[in-house]
């Protein structure tokens, strides 16, 4: 293969476009596209969060009209969340949170913004594809949003959309078909982004930026992109067959009978979970990478066991592809196969614990600065630990047969791939906001946001573990209808109250975000005093990122080095900086 000459300087880089459309809307600049993804993701985070509030109201106070917004949203029932509405709520909550909130914020937003800046490149490898990726995602969100208003109601077969619920018989009407189309478009957008990120990291690293000098954030995004490129296409295949089943009348997921041959509803579950389990790592890997960097930055010392951390991440990526069966223990899987999946799943805890040891080792005897991003990174470590340990119970076939489809599962995956990932996303927002928007967020308000969020996350999802252990199934519109669940209602009300406080606490973030966007103190180039490449350029970075492509000399965590302190009078060294 020919390799391109690395041309330095600005002479070949196109100037920023002058029209509003090309600069702000149909931009091919990774920083603008990153911001677009961030805004889109935050909007849908708010929507999906709102849906969760409605659900929690119904579970805690079944049959009572929703205060304030109830009559506006559900005029037909006098403001009460009907069982059908409840089903639609949890379907859309899960779908939006996973595919249209967390993924756009972390991978779309920060992946786009950070990867080129952190490896010393001027843009992604394929800027036009990058733009296409955003607008494909936009089309997906448009289709999914429209499905709210479909004639027979929104999609109602859960975020997993298992047949037979999701077939034309189980879900008549166009809404479920729109869901399938939205998921396919969303997947296409993710794969375009993944192709771009993988290629960018392989091809566009600055001179001297070896793989083992990359910030762990970049490792997180790169590995998540590899999983994205490999496994999202499998979901796409499931979506295609479901689409054909619904629209053309093929029979892939329709069970056969003695009269007419058919396919197999369980087949969809295989296709879904071959994708679905790697997906949870697609969500958490960027957050892990970000937290690993932030812990080092704010403990003012190098990441403990950087290479071991990287190899653990790689091991997790490989293992994540061979454990999906643990989602299907109750489908009548052969015990031998179930046991294999159980053992493989439990093996994941080995690299996961190594990661945790690395994080604690990084903190050990560090000169810790408890800034807001650091607090959120610490919160991620704690919450992920909590959620991760509960995963061991679900990995075990016998325990899972009891816990399957209970609130234990809900609590577990909210702690790991929702709360932990969102805490990582907030860490990223508080950390890179100065670089993205050129202004500082308010620190005291951020710390209050953190304290309330962490407390309510632990109460809400921790107690959900308890509810599930006590036998409460998920997806019940009215648990009080079952006599054996009535004693759990007080616990349900605590969970809901905690969730409402969590929702309200996010208003602090919204206020902080918008106030700081316009009125926050201007950010210096390097407000956190760290050495990765994005902090060597102004905040926000110029259109071309770097006046000259930097030459990287050291790793990302050159912090607390006494030799540096003696010569430069500060405790960090930029990645492209040489000691005089």
């Amino acid at each position: 293969l020919e390799t391109a000459p690395v041309i330095d300087g600005l002479d070949e880089w196109p100037a920023a476009p002058s029209t509003f459309l090309r600069r702000r809307v149909f931009s091919i600049d990774h920083k603008v596209i990153g911001r677009q993804f961030l805004w889109l993701g935050l909007c849908f985070l708010a929507i999906a969060g709102g849906l969760a509030m409605l659900m929690r109201w119904q579970v805690a106070h079944p049959g009572v009209p929703v205060p304030l917004v109830g009559r506006l949203l559900f005029p037909g029932t006098g403001g009460v969340v009907s069982p059908a509405t409840y089903t639609a709520l949890f379907t859309m909550h899960g779908t939006i949170m996973i595919f249209f909130a967390i993924t756009p914020i972390l991978i779309g937003g920060f992946g786009n913004f950070c990867v080129p800046l952190l490896i010393g490149a001027r843009d992604m490898a394929f800027p036009l594809l990058n733009m296409l990726s955003f607008w494909t995602m936009f089309a997906a969100t448009a289709v999914l949003s429209a499905s709210f208003f479909a004639p027979l109601g929104p999609p109602m077969s859960g975020w997993t959309s298992y047949p037979t619920l999701s077939t034309a018989v189980g879900s008549p009407g166009i809404a479920q078909t729109m869901w399938v189309v939205a998921i396919y478009l969303n997947g296409a957008s993710s794969v375009m982004g993944a192709v771009n990120t993988i290629t960018t990291v392989i091809r566009l690293r600055a001179p001297g930026m070896t793989f083992f000098r990359m910030p762990l954030t970049v490792w997180g995004f790169w590995l998540a992109s590899i999983l994205n490129a490999l496994f999202v296409p499998v979901l796409a295949a499931g979506a295609v067959l479901l689409f054909f089943d619904r629209v053309l009348g093929t029979r892939f997921f329709v069970a056969g009978s003695t009269i007419k041959a058919g396919g197999d509803p369980i087949l969809y579950q295989h296709l879904f979970w071959i994708f679905g389990h790697p997906e949870v790592y697609i969500l958490i890997l960027p957050a892990w990478g970000i937290a690993s960097d932030l812990l080092s930055f704010f403990a003012r010392k190098p990441a403990y066991g950087y290479k071991v951390t990287v190899w653990s991440l790689i091991a997790i990526v490989i293992l994540s592809g061979v454990v999906y069966g643990h989602h299907m223990f109750v489908t009548g899987m052969s015990p031998m196969l179930g046991e294999s999946f159980m053992i493989l799943t439990m093996i994941i805890s080995v690299p996961a614990v190594i990661l945790g040891v690395g994080w604690l080792g990084t903190l050990w005897r560090g000169a810790i600065r408890l800034t807001t991003p650091m607090l959120f990174a610490l919160g991620l470590v704690f919450v992920f630990g909590l959620g991760g340990f509960t995963g061991l119970f679900l990995a075990d076939v016998l325990a899972d047969v009891y816990l399957h489809d209970t609130f234990f599962v809900v609590g577990h995956f909210h702690l790991t791939m929702s709360a932990a990932v969102l805490l990582g996303a907030f860490a990223a927002i508080y950390f890179w906001f100065p670089k993205i928007f050129g202004r500082m967020l308010n620190e005291p308000l951020g710390k209050l946001h953190f304290a309330l969020t962490l407390t309510t996350v632990i109460i809400t999802f921790g107690l959900q573990l308890l509810l599930g252990y006590a036998g409460m199934q998920r997806r019940l519109a009215d648990p009080s209808a079952y006599e054996f669940l009535r004693p759990l209602m007080p616990l349900n009300r605590i969970v809901s109250t905690s969730a409402f406080v969590m929702g309200a606490a996010q208003m602090l973030f919204v206020a902080n975000f918008f106030y700081s966007l316009f009125r926050g103190p201007p950010a210096s180039a390097n407000p956190w005093e760290v050495g990765t490449l994005e902090w060597t350029v102004p905040s926000p970075p110029p259109h071309h990122n770097f006046d000259r492509i930097p030459t990287v000399l050291v790793g990302p965590h050159e912090l607390g080095n006494p030799a540096v302190k003696a010569k430069l009078g500060r405790d960090y060294l930029a990645q492209n900086e040489d000691l005089p």
Partner: protein
Amino acid sequence: LMNVARTMPPADPLVAADPQVRSRATSSVGMAIALGALTMTFAALFLAYAIVRSQAAAWPPPGEAAAALAWPWPIAATVAALAGSVAMRAASRANRESAHTLTRGAEARIPMVPAMVQAASTHTAVATVPVPQRTATTITTTTKLKRALRMTAAAGVIFIGVQISGWVGLAAAGLRPSAGMVVSVVYALTLFHALHALAALLALLWLLRRVSSGPLAHTSALDVVAAFWHFVTIVWLVVFFAVFVA
């Protein structure tokens, strides 16, 4: 300097963005990853087919006609797909020859976007790279390239036409997608594959337009389209053998 700048083609975002961006290796890496992703989709579809078929009592299942698996149109489609790939290989060969004679041109074409040339006041060397004259050799290779690409496109159009005639024929024989498992498999795999064949054809037409406006300054555009084209052919061969022959 300004004269040179004005005669250059408008900025193509992919070409102009960065020398690294337009390099062959970068596009090849990107295309390889994209094809890997597509392979996963098709592999998952074939997995679904394998599971459905292995669970059936017999294949075709009792009560379903084997007519859907009759060979005439799949064989015609296979011939068209293979012919397209052969023609595409000829195009790649012509393109390599053309790229060889145009190497200097490839260097000269890129920096001539007006904004860049203006920004490069201290880099006068950029503007002084000689723009090569079109020689007799480059014209012949370009003609060869165009002819090969048109033949490839023709094969692609025939392929899609054969697929459509196949679906129409099935439907006319009363074999709609809902008729049974065999037709489900036939429709799903050929439809999804044909959509990718259509995408390959559109990419090829875009390439033909670029070739018509002047010789290709670099080979990566044709390389990636050719890779995608051959991929679609290979997937068709798998469909043909797995669904119609096996």
